[in-house]
């Protein structure tokens, strides 16, 4: 990545100093300021700005929940479990690193050996009531399987609120449509990752 844009630390370009009058230091100065403010009717300046914008109908308020702001790809909300693009199977290999690294102890998983002698996750849950959405699990995941998603509406009636593996997994029809979104947050692959990958020197 090109860092030059950050290396320029000359902040004077495009900046100017706001012209602020010095604060009065003595009693006479303070008295003069009060008289000045009182007779300039500054209040009406503000009221005029509000009135002007109201008449223009240029409204910036989002009427949530009917209307929602688009969320940044790096936002860390409720977790998602991704599938492999090649085979549509789940990426999770059950290594347990997310469970280990979780600092609020909210991930719990159970693994077993399946009929093809592979390790599979038999049960997986995240207690969203405990989760602090720190993103360590997504960062540590060697398979980019667990990530954060954009779903931030997880209010519930009780403090314990669990999400299971199946609920987090990309639905198969969404996967088939090619609509699975990759997470770009911490732990995700960076651009040009292909160039940095070192191949294992296996002879076959």
């Amino acid at each position: 990545m090109n860092n030059e844009q950050f290396n320029n630390r000359n902040v004077t370009d495009g900046y100017y100093l706001v012209d602020i009058e010095d604060y009065p230091t003595d009693g006479w100065g303070k008295f003069k300021r009060v008289v000045k403010r009182t007779f300039r009717v500054e209040l009406f300046v503000g009221l005029w700005v509000v009135l002007r914008e109201m008449i223009k109908f240029d409204i910036h308020t989002v009427s949530y929940p009917a209307e929602k702001m688009p969320i940044g790809p790096r936002y860390r909300a409720v977790h998602e479990m991704k599938r492999l693009w090649e085979s549509d199977t789940e990426r999770c290999i059950g290594c347990g690193l997310c469970e280990k690294i979780c600092i609020s102890n909210c991930i719990r998983m159970d693994t077993k050996i399946d009929e093809n002698s592979r390790k599979v996750v038999s049960e997986y849950s995240i207690n969203l009531g405990r989760c602090i959405f720190c993103g360590y699990c997504a960062e540590v995941c060697p398979e980019l399987a667990i990530t954060h998603g954009g779903e931030y509406e997880n209010a519930s009636e009780q403090r314990e609120h669990f999400i299971m593996f199946e609920d987090m997994l990309t639905p198969i029809d969404k996967m088939k449509d090619g609509k699975q979104l990759e997470f770009e947050g911490f732990g995700a692959i960076t651009p040009h990752e292909d160039e940095r990958v070192k191949k294992t020197p296996l002879a076959y």
Partner: protein
Amino acid sequence: MINFVINNIPVIAQKGESILQVARREGIYIPTMCYLAKTTPNASCRMCSVEAKGVDGFVLSCNTPPIEGLEVTTDSDALYKERQNIMKLYNVNHPLQCGVCDKSGECELQNKTLEFSVAEQSFAAKEQKRKKKQWGVLSYDPYLCILCEKCTAVCNEVVGAEALYIKPGGYKSAIDNDYAQCIQCGECIAVCPVGAMASSDFKYNSNAWELKKVPSACAHCSSACSLNYEVKHVGVGAHESEKIIYRVTNEHDHDSLCGAGRFGFDFENRVTAKDEKAFSNVLKAFEYAKTIRFSSMITNEEAYILQKLKEKHGYRLINDEARAYQKFIQAYSLACGNSLYSANLDLISKSDYAVTLGCSISSDNPMVRFALAQAVKRNKAYVAMMHPIEDESIRNIVSQHFKHEVGSEEGLLAMLCECFVNVEGKKEHQDFFDSLDGGYISGESSIGEEEFELLAGKKNRKKAPVLILGADLYAHPRAENIAKMAGVLDRYSDFSVLIIPSDTNTLGVSLICELDEEALSPVIAYNAFGDTVLSALGEGDLDMPALNQQEGTFTSIDKKVVPLNAALPYQGYELSDISNKLGVKCVNVIDFTSKLPHEKGYKAIAFDDLPNYYLNSGIQVRGYLLDAKEVKEEISLEEISDIKEFNGTVIYSCNPNMQFNLFTDKAEIIVDKALLKGSKQFAQAAKIKGGENVEFMLDGKLLSRKFQIDNKLKGMIAYNANFDLGQRSSLYRYQQIQLERVQ
């Protein structure tokens, strides 16, 4: 004593110690990959290389003894480079599957790869086609195998099974298993530094770092081996307190476990609430009861409670198996002058001459078998087994099998005394030795006098002989005289004697409880049969915690009091709840640990003060040793009685080598069934075929068994498993029976 210097620290080596052993004892770190403290070094990894002043090149610390004044350096840039290169080579083609590998987190390869900063695989070789194998409880993945040979070393040297070997083939080499020899002990799984040898049951079940280790003692036989129950919650939905045992591990570098200990861990009694009604019924039963019958699967503290109940309420205490052992030990100690037998497992493994009499080495006590195997492999010990049944499975351990007639054990021990008791002893018991008729004994036992001469001849120049006595003798009609002879042999010869306790805490029960001969009904039974049953198996009138749910102590074969910790929670009633109602008060059962009878050798050490750890040198510091008390009494040996003939269909009570009791039977991984096993000859003589169901009377009860022909057995005596019958009986292990075929 050799004085030398490691890293400028002056150290002292004993004769026979290697540089590595001294360094480890002194807490100086030398990395190793293939070194296993309990076997002789195979020196294949070369990681333990060190620099010695005045010596060109590196020295292998694992198999080099130090010389006086040597200056050793264990760490330098050159050594680091050397070790890093070794790790690079170990990593050639090693699959990058730490994410799913069971060993991840406790893997030697992983640790050393990180320690020597090997960040990438820099070399590769053409991958060979290899086959993953499963041999019962153990799974082998040759792709993960680094051929360190630890597994073959334990299998040969510690277990003595000689099942695992290396199938040579250059880079294609792999471990193979002579499955017929494999006793499924899982020692290879324990010592494997990578994930190549894995437990078929545990595979992919949990990551090592999620499991909590609970150090305890194995509950299945009298060795009471040190082990760790590894526990974790059940599934994702379970509460923190709902735990199960995932696996059993141990300090595998120094100690061993058998298959029953390693795989027979899930015998807990799941009780989630106190059953008040059952409890009050049982209390009522105690009001009328005259007898408490119990098995030796019990802690010292519980045995103490029972003894106190006896003293307070006059219950009779019945435990036939422990009583037989108690009488045997008492007779022995009168003759020998010492309240306890003299040998222990460590002594056996260091012995160079061993005679076993009256025990089935392959199944009675696995640790005795392991210790004998070590004696044979390390000290080239001569092991003579005196037993009526030939056992093919221990032919690597036994140097000579003296096949004798059933029932002639008394005569044989008398002949051993004749061979080995010194002049002083012979003078002391002159009448006995004068009356000994060698010709008669030889004739009736079918072991000739020249064979005894051979046995005596083999002892020449041997320094540490042991005599191992087993459960056949305790129920022998002439048990008392046998015990006295063993005592005489112990006192008047250089032999050490080991009297194997027949069940887990038989020794403890025999020391703590005053046992009675005959039961009076009504009987309350604790893990036994009776009118009201307290059971840890979950089938009785009141549930009791199993031995992996209790705190307490065992008295082990090594005459040590070893602690037992509760691995799993138990919410029901315990024996102490009953005893509190009956006037034997305690808060916890372990309050009694320090009160165990001091006159029997127990010490006033509280449970929480019992140590349980290993020193750097590999010495186990666990519990405390019983004090042996001096016994002064004149005894006289009785003349040998006539040897009865055992004809017809004879069976021998003997369990398959992984099964000990109903608790191992409950364990899911241990699948051995209760069968009647015999040789082809036996089948022919008894006119039955393999796979047929037979019925016979044993100890007044009708027993039905499936008959199986076992090609490893020879002779006319069949093995009858008894682990499923509940409490062990005090019946002589050989019985004549009438077999009846059933459809």
